[in-house]
């Protein structure tokens, strides 16, 4: 046991490195209290959330070049984590702003006080997950973000499909986190530790039963796979994405996925990297299990199933749900290379994916405000009834397909080149075929908006100028990052280094 003075000194140091997360917890508590005190105010907790996120951003900015562990090696601060935390933070801000313009939330729920409070809580869970290097913290963080997202998915209680979405999410979530903690217990039984660094050291020094290790990691993967909605852990995705309020769907598809990918990458690198060879940029893995292949299988399944099933969907939110499964597949492809170039390409992809996906969902929310539907047939002629929305939606869809000159193209370019560089040509080929398939259903939305019901004499859609400004906040980066992407690429390559402990 530590001496008291030594412990307090260490605690002070840890807390000083935990400031972004602390800011989130404080914002969470303040929002909770303000909501209790001022019942009538409409968006008070929303503004509190925004201020809290800005303060978090300030502390995160001050951590930029830090690399350390805190709280007895339970928590890691490194460039990789900070990049992912930026993605989560920016998308949290984006989601709060989108929520302000989503009528559904204000009409069908009784007050939005808890809504923004829970968004802050979820952001805290994701921050914790990104930085955790201990299986207990991983589990707690996943539960924190899951519990908040269960409630958020069903926030519009009056809407039947939202309650259904929430219930399905809870059931699938409970099962997968149950399987995950079972896997954790097996891994603990094999190695005698919950700390990823110590597990790594143990695996390097002692041979363990391969089958038991394989089984435990697959079980833990089911927890991560559930968060990133990779096949075969994706069953909840379409129903929850369709039923949840649009901003929450966007949040689940971007931030929640970012946190899942962050912990997936950290788990594999920290646990299985053989640190002896010295050159860390291509990971040499411990043990004889072919993890590349396991992840590559998940990638192929996710891409193919996501894209093929999306072809038959008639609801835009469902299409985007299956497309998000497919996007998880593209990113898993880069994860399966298990080298630093792969990590960098996942980071680049996420930054681009964040902008374009939030944008696409925002357009869906604005259209739903007017026509109250997300069915693809109701999108007929919308390109003429709402020209700005139509043009922006087209831009986001092109970007999601991965065509130049948009952000999505750059993301895909780096992912595919990382995969090819690592020598997985067959995987890249599957990826390219899938991108072509995906073009079909993205174009379907576009076609309905511009080629069907051209001479419609239905009224034009109305939207406030502020909502259009926010739309440009997503649309301009989607174009800009497709052309001037050097800074993001540099930042991502610099952040690809996952901290391996002392």
């Amino acid at each position: 046991m530590l001496g008291l003075d030594q412990f307090i000194a260490e605690l002070n140091k840890s807390i000083s490195m935990f400031l972004p997360e602390t800011a989130l917890v404080i914002a969470f508590l303040v929002a909770l209290l303000l909501d209790l005190m001022f019942k009538k105010s409409k968006n008070l907790t929303g503004y509190t959330a925004l201020i809290g996120f800005l303060v978090t951003g300030y502390f995160l900015f001050k951590q930029m070049n830090m690399q350390s562990t805190a709280f007895s090696n339970m928590f890691v601060i490194d460039q990789f984590g900070i990049f992912m935390k930026w993605v989560i933070l920016l998308s949290s801000i984006g989601v709060v702003l989108i929520s302000f313009f989503t009528n559904e939330l204000y009409e069908k729920a009784k007050g939005v006080g808890e809504y923004f409070t829970l968004i802050i809580g979820m952001a805290f869970g994701m921050f914790l997950l990104v930085g955790s290097s201990n299986l207990i913290i991983i589990y707690l963080a996943i539960e924190t973000m899951s519990l908040s997202s269960y409630v958020l998915a069903g926030y519009t209680k009056e809407v039947k499909r939202a309650s259904e979405a929430s219930l399905k999410y809870v059931i699938f979530g409970a099962v997968s986190s149950g399987i995950m903690i079972y896997g954790i217990s097996i891994l603990f039984g094999l190695t005698g530790s919950l700390n990823l660094f110590e597990i790594n050291r143990f695996l390097a020094a002692n041979p363990v039963n391969n089958f038991a290790l394989f089984l435990s990691v697959i079980m833990i993967l089911s927890g991560f796979g559930y968060k990133i909605s990779a096949v075969p852990f994706h069953f909840w995705t379409p129903d929850v994405y369709e039923g949840a309020p649009v901003p929450i769907t966007a949040y689940l598809s971007v931030a929640s996925k970012a946190a899942g990918f962050a912990i997936l990458l950290r788990f594999f690198k920290v646990t299985f990297l053989d640190s002896v060879p010295g050159n860390d940029s291509v990971w040499t893995l411990l043990g004889s299990i072919d993890w590349h292949f396991v992840i590559a299988i998940l990638a192929v399944l996710s891409m193919t199933l996501g894209n093929l099933v999306a072809l038959w969907q008639t609801n835009v939110k469902r299409i985007l749900a299956y497309s998000s499964i497919a996007h998880a597949g593209y990113m898993l492809m880069a994860v399966s290379t298990m080298d630093d170039a792969g990590v960098a390409s996942v980071l680049i992809y996420f930054f681009m994916y964040m902008v374009m996906n939030l944008g696409a969902f925002y357009v869906v929310a604005l259209i739903a405000n007017n026509i109250g539907s997300e069915e693809i047939d109701d999108y007929n002629g919308l390109g003429y009834r709402a020209p700005i929305l139509g043009i922006c939606m087209t831009l986001f869809l092109i970007s999601l397909t991965g065509l130049p000159p948009t952000a999505g193209f750059i993301g895909k370019l780096y992912v595919f080149s990382a995969v090819v560089k690592a020598g997985y040509i067959w995987l890249a080929v599957v990826g390219v075929i899938n991108s072509v398939i995906s073009l079909f259903y993205y174009v379907k939305i576009f076609r309905n908006m511009y080629l069907n019901d051209v001479d419609s004499n239905k009224s034009k859609l109305t939207y406030s100028p502020a909502s259009i400004v926010l739309l440009f906040v997503f649309a301009i980066p989607t174009l800009y990052l497709g052309i001037f992407f050097n800074d993001i690429v540099k930042w991502a390559s610099y952040s690809a280094n996952i901290f391996m402990g002392k």
Binding site: S72, T144, K157, L190
Partner: protein
């Protein structure tokens, strides 16, 4: 077989059988009551593992708190007690696939548990485990402790929100 071994098998049988009743019983009252035996069995396992604090907590929290709450909930919601829980409305294909998967998983788990060389730590001095747990929670596991408190707060807010009248 020594006394500890006998006690283990007795408790394990108790847990498995009562857990099976929880799942398969069609009357929700029977499920709730047999859940009590499951919890007791688990507490017994903790005692066998020298985890006295955990065993007492298990009894106090799960049986004293959660289970009593469940039973009260069931009894106060008059409509539930009479309703049979339907658990056999699945198609044959689903049951077949689920059964196959479960069998595969069960077999691989049995293989793992019987063939693996587990990590065995040195037996520590047993004694005042409460004090040790308290110290660990507020030093090495401080972050987990605090994170759990935020998690519980979120759970309470969520539960209150869902339960609130429209």
């Amino acid at each position: 077989m020594d006394l500890v071994g006998l006690a283990f098998y007795f408790l394990a049988a108790l847990i498995v059988i009562s857990a099976a009743i929880v799942v398969f019983s069609k009357n929700i009252m029977y499920s709730a009551f047999s859940l009590m035996f499951t919890f007791f069995g688990v507490a017994g396992l903790y005692v066998l593992l020298n985890a006295d604090f955990l065993a007492v907590t298990q009894i106090m929290v799960y049986i004293g708190g959660i289970l009593v709450l469940i039973i009260f909930g069931v009894m106060l919601t008059t409509r539930i007690t009479g309703v049979d829980v339907k658990s056999n409305s699945l198609g044959k294909i689903q049951v077949g696939i689920a059964g196959l998967l479960s069998t595969i998983i069960a077999i691989s788990l049995i293989v793992v548990f019987s063939s693996t060389k587990w990590f065995l730590s040195e037996p520590k001095v047993s004694g005042d485990s409460t004090k040790l747990i308290g110290n660990e929670l507020l030093t090495n596991y401080l972050l987990a402790f605090e994170a759990a408190s935020v998690l519980l707060l979120i759970a309470i807010i969520g539960a209150a929100f869902i339960a609130r009248r429209k």
